[in-house]
């Protein structure tokens, strides 16, 4: 159920990218898709009743092994979040510059190139 809903969120983002005409909305669609994938990765690593993969001095290692969630997806998501932010920054940069040139965020009006 949780996985399915996460996939729905991904689809919502995809729908936004494919159907919207406003550049900012398209960027929002991309951000939503990225969020959905990140959540999906973390959910893959979740364990019922799990604890964060951080050891403390008094932690028993066997107990920790049995209860800790998967640390690897978390590392991947950290990377993915930062990549998403980088792409967002560049995209907004291009959007600002396009707005300067065309005076609009509507991609149907930004059409000098044929095809």
């Amino acid at each position: 159920m949780a996985f399915t809903l996460c996939f729905v969120l991904f689809m919502v983002g995809l729908y936004g990218v494919l159907s919207k005409k406003n550049m900012v909305k398209i960027v929002m669609g991309l951000v939503i898709m990225n969020c959905a994938v990140n959540l999906f990765l973390i959910m893959l690593g979740y364990k019922k009743g799990g604890v964060a993969p951080i050891l403390e001095k008094k932690t028993n290692l066997a107990d920790f092994l049995a209860r800790s969630v998967d640390p690897l997806p978390q590392a991947l998501v950290l990377t993915s979040i930062v990549i998403g932010l980088g792409v967002l920054a560049l995209t907004i940069g291009i959007c600002i510059r396009l707005y300067e040139k065309y005076g609009t965020f509507d991609i149907t009006e930004i059409r000098r190139l044929k095809g």
């Binding site: 964060a52 050891l55 950290l78 930062v82 932010l85 600002i96 300067e100």
Partner: protein
């Protein structure tokens, strides 16, 4: 910047609160960077928090304040410097046997749960914190501060600002 801009920054209340908060926020960011291997956090989280402190200062006191103090140039230097530091750590490992080898921890393992217990991880955290903090502040400056200036007749308009130190 346009001279017709409204009074720099936000209200006195915001400015006062910012003046109180900026120290603790930066300190908290540094703490997060330095204990990343022991508790939640690390270079990324800490770096972003430090960047947010500077963003807060910029928003509260106006663009001139932040640009005068930190300066885009300094931020971009720090950006490159953090990245260079991280690559250097990797290359030091390369010289010592293997790219990205944790040469400190492998040579003489320190007891766990201390600040200096994880070898190059601490150094990497600092490098990443420096890099991410500078990067995100740069993103904020170039996207949100420099380009948006209010026109004389009240309409928002983009202007092209001469960027210092540019070639």
């Amino acid at each position: 910047m346009d001279k017709s801009e409204k009074p720099v920054g936000m209200t006195l209340i915001v400015q006062t609160v910012t003046r109180w908060l900026k120290g603790p926020i930066i300190l908290y960011g540094i703490y997060i960077v330095f204990t990343g291997h022991l508790s939640p956090g690390g270079g990324f989280a800490g770096g972003v928090i430090i960047a947010c402190a500077f963003v807060l200062i910029t928003l509260a006191f106006g663009a001139k304040f932040a640009l005068g103090r930190v300066g885009k140039l300094l931020a971009s230097e720090l950006d490159s410097l953090g990245a260079l530091m991280f690559v250097t750590i990797a290359l030091l490992g390369y010289v010592g046997g293997s790219f990205f080898r944790n040469f400190i921890q492998m040579a003489n393992p320190a007891p766990p749960f201390r600040i200096f217990s994880a070898g190059t991880i601490l150094l990497s955290n600092v490098a990443i914190g420096l890099k991410v903090g500078a990067s995100l502040f740069m993103i904020f400056i170039i996207l949100a501060v420099i380009r948006v200036v209010e026109d004389k007749d009240g309409k928002m308009k983009m202007i092209q600002k001469k960027q210092g130190g540019d070639n």
